[in-house]
Symmetry: C2
Subunit: 268 residues, 2 copies
């Protein structure tokens, strides 16, 4: 997967016309999209962290309005090709590739030579909400922990993780656990509850205003949301996790083999 190609249009149309991908057979290229294609070509020639010319310069260069440039840049920002830095716009690095696997966030980020971190938003003990009893194998009202943490990569806020776990499984969580560390390492090495298996569901959503504020994203940014239900090695439910990742900073990878078949969800 080292050579992703951006565009499904075969390059035999006209190699000098990258804007082809914006055109239906009988259609026209929207003006902002033609500008976007040119800025993308510009970005391809720059290195990560390099400063992009200003909106005004780009508008002059391409003889279009600043609003047209702004629309082109907006898409490139949402897609993670560019990012804001101070008052300027710079070229982003590639998206982080996180494996869809039973490894922790910490381990996934380390594999890419980035420094993982987590910042605690809250750790609360509360009666198990009715919507979670089936997933956690609890009765309504049994005590659960709700732990919410902002995910960091090299001190950049990149996600928000919300974990529910029965207090009976990890009674000393509030006392023992260092919130900046890996919860799975804690579960496996301190509590003696290694992960057995998990079901995940991944979708794209818009961050709520609260989530956007906590992660520091623009509110319209598409996010990747992963729901996870983990079980211990004996098959008992362990935790219910909802993790939101910046869509402009993350992708997820999976290796599929004939053995990788989806298991029917256990009955509620």
């Amino acid at each position: 997967m080292d050579h992703p190609f951006k565009d499904p249009t075969p390059p035999d149309f006209d190699p000098g016309a990258p804007v082809r991908s914006g055109v239906p057979e009988h259609g026209r290229v929207p003006k902002y999209y033609a500008v976007k294609a040119r800025v993308e070509a510009l970005v391809d020639d720059l290195a990560e962290g390099d400063l992009l010319p200003t909106e005004r310069d780009l508008a002059l260069r391409y003889a279009v309005s600043r609003e047209t440039v702004r629309q082109a840049l907006r898409e490139l920002l949402l897609e993670g090709r560019l990012r804001r830095k101070g008052r300027g716009t710079v070229v982003s690095g590639p998206k982080l590739e996180q494996p869809l696997a039973l490894v922790s966030y910490t381990e996934g980020v380390r594999r890419q030579d980035r420094r993982p971190g987590r910042s605690l938003i809250g750790l609360d003990r509360l009666p198990c909400p009715a919507a979670l009893t089936a997933d956690l194998g609890l009765r309504a009202g049994e005590p659960v922990w709700h732990m919410e943490r902002v995910l960091l990569a090299d001190d950049e806020r990149v996600g928000l993780e919300s974990t529910y776990v029965a207090v009976s499984r990890v009674p000393r969580l509030a006392a023992d656990f260092e919130p900046d560390s890996s919860f799975y390492t804690y579960l496996g090495e301190v509590v003696g509850l290694p992960l057995g298996d998990a079901d995940e569901r991944i979708e794209t959503v818009l961050a709520t205003p609260r989530e956007a504020l906590l992660i520091g994203t623009p509110p319209a940014l598409p996010m990747l949301l992963i729901h996870r239900l983990s079980r211990d090695t004996g098959g008992r439910p362990l935790e219910r996790v909802r993790t939101l990742y910046r869509g402009d900073r993350f992708s997820f990878t999976a290796h599929l083999t004939p053995a990788t078949h989806p298991r029917p969800t256990p009955g509620a």
Copy 2:
């Protein structure tokens, strides 16, 4: 995964206030978000396909401007809770859950009692683009097929699939293959090339204008993009696929076990 919960905010704040999820501890709920939460509560009480009150009615009901209602509805449309039908807005069904597994689109959709379909956009024979030679194990210029198909579920356009495969592996593709059928069934049963394994990468992107036109989505709709590189049972590269799914209509599921570990990408 039958009981997704929408919101990481523990419900002990105030069960009567679903808009809490829009509020940072010290913040205010944006007005459109309060309206969105109320419309969501309304949608929860309706059935799939039920008609939502008009924008005007909702604006009157909540004593806000129509623009505020429109912003709330726009997010619910992007998230797939609502969809346009004729001139009205109706309640959507749940997102389709497609397994991240070595099954075809056809099989994944059938499992959910939806009728899969595919509509051919183009099948071209062209020299292998340089960007794909490593993935396909070919030299630049060797002939490849590029097949592009719109994915359908119950006649609704839900995605766009772009497949590259060496002509030498499936020389009779243009003559033999029924474009509305499963390519993997063709590979396995007609050509005698069953899939061995695959690497996938999933991310969220914005559709290009051409893609949005082909799938019939609004241009700003977040999409899920899956890159797949498949190999035959002997480990030789078979196809390179780029599939775009409507983010408001699809989610992907995976079952993770300790054996589900990501394999290093084979060297380019």
